[in-house]
Symmetry: C2
Subunit: 202 residues, 2 copies
């Protein structure tokens, strides 16, 4: 007898489909995936996949938006914990952002590689969340430039460079490699402090 | 009357197919492309595409290897022109590497996003050339660390961060934007000098 409530079953089924779709997009690319191959991975029919999601783009949007929101939240919480010093905030923000990239490689690689295949409207549904992430970094860096502790022109462009550097982590990082995700994140936070010409006030 | 020699015609036809394949991989992804859709773009039949290339992987390998070789050569020439100072070499190398990324977005984006779909042997045919690029940067940075003008641990990891930052340029750079490819390349060279903790000898 199945004693789970219908809504629990539905949520579990939806989550299983999302995880299968992420695997499928990661392995075969957006264009190489179909609702049927996603269903196969999730152990259900294409019809069942359609019960939860209108189409493949809908699945990709949901995956990328959830990942982006989680990365945003992790970064925002790290900034809050870092206190008021913009250099400490910057280190914490890049560290949290980089840690997410190292720990969630499938989401980050699929975001890097498959986002451009979404149509204009669907892309906007994802990009808004990414812009919000960028804005957090810009606010910190601008405050630090105003205080004279960061020395960089064109803050937005420098932030983009830092975020793309972090987005590249899953291309090479292996969880079973010699250094941990936390160590990599700390190293990248150091690179990012250097990149913006950080010099503590004398 | 066609007065081109057969070999000129063959080369032109081969180049047209390569360019069409690059467009097709860029637009539809490796998995979303077929020899037929590539032929359509090139204005020829799939059979004609097969006359020049064994399969889709063969086309992707040829595109990525050629681009990687050109980027390697541009970087190596820039290093040679920079003279003996490792900081000047580093600035020149990153500048040339970044400039290629800004000027050849299709090749760089397809390399970033589609390389992982190649089989093991085909991937090795491409990756060797990329490793050679990395080695150029590592040699310069190690010399600079030895001279005490770069201050960075784990040189290889820092080089990877710099190259991934450059690889991200085509994600956002637009040729009709406010800043030129040359300006972006110079900015990124500056970021990369900062990143490795460059301090001129006193």
């Amino acid at each position: 007898m199945n004693n789970r409530s219908p809504s629990t079953t539905t949520t579990a089924s939806r989550d299983r489909i999302l995880d299968a779709a992420l695997d499928e997009f990661f392995t075969s690319g957006f264009h190489g995936s179909t609702m049927r191959t996603i269903g196969n991975r999730a152990g259900c029919s294409a019809a069942n996949v359609y019960n939860h999601f209108e189409n493949k783009s809908d699945l990709l949007v949901e995956i990328l938006r959830t990942a982006s929101d989680e990365q945003f939240t992790a970064t925002r919480n790290a900034i809050r914990r870092a206190g008021k010093d913009p250099a400490a905030q910057w280190r914490a923000a890049v560290g949290a952002h980089a840690l997410f990239a190292a720990q969630r490689p499938r989401e980050c690689l699929v975001a890097n590689t498959e986002l451009r295949y979404l149509g204009e409207i669907d892309r906007k549904r994802v990009v808004g969340s990414r812009d919000a992430q960028e804005d957090q970094f810009i606010a910190i860096a601008e405050a630090a430039v105003d205080l004279g502790i960061f020395h960089v022109d064109r803050v937005h462009q420098a932030v983009t460079a830092v975020l793309l550097m972090c987005a590249g982590i899953p291309v090479w990082f292996r969880a079973d490699g010699p250094r941990s995700a936390e160590q990599i994140a700390a190293d990248y936070a150091g690179y990012a402090l250097n990149l913006v010409g950080y010099r503590p006030t004398p």
